[in-house]
Symmetry: C3
Amino acid sequence: MGFRSHTLHELAELLGGEVAGDGETVISGVAGIMDAQEGDLTFVANPKYVESLKTTRASAVIRKREVQSTLPSIILEDPYLGFTRAMTLIVGPSVPECEEGIHDTAIVDPSAEVGENVTVGAFCQVGRGAKIGANTKILFGTWIGDHVVVGRDVLVYPNVVIRERCEVGNRVILHPGVVVGSDGFGFARDGECHVKVPQIGKVVIEDDVEIGSNTTIDRATMGVTRVCQGTKVDNLVQIAHNCVVGKNSILAGQVGISGSTELGEGVVAGGQAGFVGHLEVGDHVVVGAKTGVVKSAPAGTTLLGFPGRDHGLAKKIYAYSARLPELYKRIRELEKKIDQLEKGILNGKTAKNDR
Amino acid sequence: MGFRSHTLHELAELLGGEVAGDGETVISGVAGIMDAQEGDLTFVANPKYVESLKTTRASAVIRKREVQSTLPSIILEDPYLGFTRAMTLIVGPSVPECEEGIHDTAIVDPSAEVGENVTVGAFCQVGRGAKIGANTKILFGTWIGDHVVVGRDVLVYPNVVIRERCEVGNRVILHPGVVVGSDGFGFARDGECHVKVPQIGKVVIEDDVEIGSNTTIDRATMGVTRVCQGTKVDNLVQIAHNCVVGKNSILAGQVGISGSTELGEGVVAGGQAGFVGHLEVGDHVVVGAKTGVVKSAPAGTTLLGFPGRDHGLAKKIYAYSARLPELYKRIRELEKKIDQLEKGILNGKTAKNDR
Amino acid sequence: MGFRSHTLHELAELLGGEVAGDGETVISGVAGIMDAQEGDLTFVANPKYVESLKTTRASAVIRKREVQSTLPSIILEDPYLGFTRAMTLIVGPSVPECEEGIHDTAIVDPSAEVGENVTVGAFCQVGRGAKIGANTKILFGTWIGDHVVVGRDVLVYPNVVIRERCEVGNRVILHPGVVVGSDGFGFARDGECHVKVPQIGKVVIEDDVEIGSNTTIDRATMGVTRVCQGTKVDNLVQIAHNCVVGKNSILAGQVGISGSTELGEGVVAGGQAGFVGHLEVGDHVVVGAKTGVVKSAPAGTTLLGFPGRDHGLAKKIYAYSARLPELYKRIRELEKKIDQLEKGILNGKTAKNDR
């Protein structure tokens, strides 16, 4: 990878930070504090790595003012955010290189509108009336259905499927194997049989959304399944028909959201969490990994466990349940004692004499 | 989408229902009761939407006889099933349009038998001795291995893989990214190493089955992994080697079934439910979302929780476990009291004096 | 499938076992003990199938010395391992047949190094500077990014994606739809927004690893996500950025491993198990199906439940929790009795009189 070199001073200016030490230090790479080599910029956000500042081979560090170091430094309030930006400056956006233009093997319907500087890679097909915005890259083996709209500066990795009439905003990233707009899972019962409910809605993915590898997002039965602006979805996530995932939410790997459930803004769901259908989950709700959300949740709550409960209660239940064996013992003990007391009293004797 | 218009009278006849109100009302679309516009047909199945009949802009409604409305109506015992059928009549089956015939780029082995009106889309490959039934559509980027048999009127969405010798029945729908017939996960232990067990069986998918996006169904070690007639499988489901999923079953998103487990007919499994291997799960068993089934289950039972238990017990445990903190308090209280009582009796005093 | 015939004597020699009965028995197939036909070799490992030895139609059996049978037999300490090896001898490795060489439609960059006897199937693309070792088969629709290194004797099933700079060892099997090297799920917070952390690391898959269908393995933020030698991963598994999965481990279907978690050697994780991030899981740890591992685990432990606990405790909690309804009853009973005792004592009467 061809990294771009910067002086520490240049980087500090670009990041809006202050230099401590030699601003002429040349930075040509980035690395974690344990792995850094000469020429690398590193960072300290977690207090447990402060000690490593003494031994790191990095040439410079991004740190908070209160963290001491003799290394050339950029002082920032949020070193991790600053380091993230520095990475992008130094290593670029880390996107596969690809030739611009429509590959010889790609099939783009004549009725499709393709913007400037668009890449359509090998073995892709773009359907009738589809629109692809400027600078968008569609890498390989991808199927864009009829009348799909894809925005500007979008990156579509290989082997993606976007079915007819779905919409993808600007600066969206779709990782390999993503499926957008497959049929919702809807059936009406007819005796023992299941009659397919036509799924005539669509999926709308708003601007700045990222969707992880092999994640599936089903089209609405009628209307729209929506992933709102700025939301990031990890790999192998299932978003069912008619769901709404609010702005700037985070769905970790293997999360599943059942039909018609709506998440608010800034919702965070840990890996393998699940939501049953038809729920309303408020803004900034946090759902722990593997948690099963079975009821609508008011804004700001944190849910844990299965079925999901308020995290305070869930943690107590978890702790107490570990003591169940002891609890049973204590109850048996109590029962024996009471038995003895009862006998003692009934016999008109003291418990002492009974022993 | 080009919808087909019908009069309410025509629809009622096709659905086997009775008209109330103006049978000449022209229906040109379908929508939920809140979203419906003029010209749309809607339905009321859930009592909570009965009130909305007064304000809906729909031109007609499918309802039960006992639900009152002045809107032109079709009277049916099961309004949702009727609406499902009406959707299909009005909007069609909601399948991507595609040109018939073998696409120029598709590679169909000369030894393959391809029926009438078959579509094989761009960048597909059909192997030696494969058979594709009449009217079947294989859209894009799909690999059909040697000697695979695919029935009539099948719909295969893009980027599907069906490995050699597997069989797919009539009217089956395979959504994008489905993998049929990959190797079962079988290894024999040799010290620390795992020796691959050849997976020489196949997968049989019977008629009228639907398989969701990116779902994987492994071939049997020896013999058959079978998904029986009429079963519907959602996205990202894992069906391991040698499993049988009985007729008319429903597997929601991200369900996992371990090797050699057999489900009966009409089994329903909620999202993220899992089954360990070598179980027998009876007909009409219902498994809640996220439930982990660790034992064979007799027909008709409903299982919840992890590990899965009878739903009545599971709900009780769930409710009682929320009261564990209180329980511990009560036990501490009891212990104190008993202690006092014992002391009182041992000292020959009344408890009163002790306080 | 063209099976290769052997005499029992030949097979015994190849497997290092001893013949009992007619060593000239010709074996032309393999099957489980219930399904075997004339000409088949079968095996008995599970005691519950010993009885079936009397009725099986198999022509020969692999058994332990202590299991009695009049059938022609191969005596081995580990009949299942022996049978696995016999299957490979008789039925071959069960790999789809494919023509050697670069398919006419495949696009291999001129700068790529392709070894002897390599297959690159239809609609594949191999990027700049990529290296593909001898005898490796890449079947169909697969994207090999720039500077990817793939070893010898590797089998890549259709529609796989391996992103730039990732490395795949020798004798690796990648099942259909696998994604190797997609971006790790890393974001820095900037107010309500999530700023993408460039993912500039790679994935290294060591020798003899097998990765199941539609499984996703993310590249490291910096450094390496590693799946070590001999490890077998089932379908729909998520391995996040910077994870290490130690040698000879087994990850069953739908397992999820969050970022930077490291598993030791010989770890076994059951289906749908999950690991939160930044854990260290020791050698030979066993994690039950659906278990949620939330803490680092020392070598040799067995974890069950959610959150995962030592299996002994987890089983006790499970058993005791089923008795919670009874427990509440017993406590209520105790409370009543104590109440009575207290009243009795306070009133200076015996409990007897109180009743």
